[in-house]
């Protein structure tokens, strides 16, 4: 069975749904139509561009080029994790925390998959390495940004509670225990929900894509299961790494709570 190829005209018809959304936004005065339009345009541009880039990278098959593509993807994901929270750690702390956590979580998860379950030849074959890193990154980004937002927002909101514990002689990590737990939980919740809903409430994206592309549903399900494990593992690692790195940046050698290392995000017109 060969996949049914799409023509630009088919996609243009589907884009009418976005226009409908935009029209609703105007009619209901939701002021979302610009955001929606820009996001849709960005999505189309980004995906077409990455299609061309991947086609070229796959054709060349150079290891260093594959690595470069993945490093760029990790850097962009790290930046996204850093940009989400309302609170910022000084001296590009969010970027350091986000970048380190994303790189670590993605590397561990993708390498594990490439060297054990999927095992392409060579293991760094861009056909496998790049899409795998990409899908893991998406989940890592989600978990990491939610967890970072939760821990930085929480520490500001619960300052009195944390400092009351410190003042009573609690070590810093103990005073932060509740916040650490709830922040990691927050980062993991989407993947837990996703796993619980998979197959019953939603057909996950990978499986849908592979079935549409002509693969046997059971084979597609196996792939999806593998990927679900990778995504959960990745986002869990990212959430834990982000939270512990942020908490470490928020204290010093005398176990103080250093909220002076946080600055509130500048609110400006951002699309």
């Amino acid at each position: 069975m060969t996949p049914i190829l799409l023509h630009p005209g088919d996609i243009a018809i589907a884009s009418a749904l976005i226009l409908l959304d935009a029209a609703l936004s105007v009619a209901l005065q939701l002021r979302l139509h610009w955001q929606l339009g820009i996001a849709a345009a960005r999505m189309v541009l980004q995906l077409v561009l990455i299609g061309f880039v991947l086609r070229a990278v796959f054709a060349l098959g150079l290891p260093w080029l594959t690595l470069l593509v993945i490093v760029v993807m990790v850097a962009i994901a790290g930046r996204e994790v850093a940009a989400r929270p309302e609170q910022r750690l000084r001296h590009f702390g969010n970027h350091l925390v986000g970048g380190a956590a994303v790189a670590m979580a993605t590397l561990i998860t993708a390498l594990l998959a490439l060297t054990t379950a999927i095992r392409p030849h060579p293991w760094y074959d861009p056909h496998y390495a790049i899409p795998l890193a990409g899908i893991v990154l998406g989940s890592v980004l989600n978990g990491g940004s939610l967890a970072l937002d939760s821990v930085l927002g929480g520490v500001v909101r619960e300052r009195a509670a944390v400092e009351a514990q410190l003042a009573l002689g609690a070590p810093f990590m103990r005073a932060m225990r509740g916040l650490i737990r709830s922040s990691v939980r927050r980062g993991l919740l989407p993947t837990i929900n996703q796993m619980a809903a998979a197959g019953i409430i939603t057909l996950p994206g990978i499986m849908t894509g592979q079935i549409l592309a002509g693969m046997d549903p059971l084979e597609a399900a196996k792939y999806q299961i593998l990927l679900m494990f990778l995504l959960s593992g990745g986002s869990g690692l990212a959430a834990v790494a982000v939270v512990y790195l942020a908490v470490w940046r928020l204290t010093d050698d005398r176990q103080r709570l250093r909220l002076d290392r946080l600055i509130a995000k500048q609110h400006g017109p951002k699309p």
Binding site: R159, E163, L166, L168, G169, D252, Q255, R256, R258, D260
Partner: protein, 202 residues
């Protein structure tokens, strides 16, 4: 003459100080001054909750040689704004200190079953007294009390002052921030005025 219980030598930060002060065992220092003058900053620096330079000595032991959590348990800062991190009141006390808390609670005119209820049901005044109980059951050597009776009426204020007086009689030193001149006179052996983030004898 006995060495001072607490001694500040050149304690300062970018925001306040320098502060030099000696407090004897059983002595209460009352600090007054307008809002934002640095009273809380002084207490937080002594408890090592904010970055600071200079040295603080407890019974002639330098703070730098004592781990921060150990220091804070002995030189205990009781903030004006109380903090709670469990839903119920009781888990805020360790098992070993809960009995002492139960003994202290009625002396501050708090119903004993308050300890078994949720924090959300407490009034501001009840929270303030419970936070003080939570601090006192640790038997601190020095209590840094930031407006300990700010939310209390005259009768309960008197109860708090009696309890603090008893603790002072057994050697606890207090540095107290208070907006009430009368309270400063009743409890304070010496009074200071904070102006422009410097301490002046009143």
């Amino acid at each position: 003459m006995a060495p001072p219980r607490l001694r500040l030598t050149g304690l300062h930060s970018a925001l306040a100080g320098p502060f030099n002060l000696s407090v004897d065992a059983g002595e209460c220092i009352a600090v007054s001054g307008p809002s934002g003058s640095g009273k809380s900053l002084l207490l937080r620096m002594i408890a090592d909750l904010d970055p600071n330079q200079g040295e603080v000595w407890l019974d002639e032991q330098p703070r730098c040689g004592i781990p921060a959590p150990v220091w804070r348990r002995q030189v205990l800062y009781n903030a004006a704004e109380t903090g709670w991190w469990h839903e119920d009141v009781a888990p805020h006390f360790q098992r070993a200190t809960l009995a002492a808390a139960r003994a202290l609670v009625p002396r501050l005119d708090l119903p004993p079953d308050l300890l078994d209820g949720p924090v959300l049901r407490l009034s501001t005044g009840e929270r303030q007294r419970l936070a003080l109980v939570r601090a006192l059951v640790h038997d601190p050597t020095v209590l840094l009390a930031d407006e300990p009776t700010g939310a209390l009426d005259a009768d309960t204020t008197a109860l708090v002052e009696t309890v603090l007086g008893e603790r002072m009689a057994t050697g606890m030193a207090i540095i107290m921030v208070s907006h009430s001149h009368e309270q400063a006179c009743r409890l304070g052996h010496r009074q200071f005025h904070m102006r422009d983030r410097h301490l002046h004898p009143a």
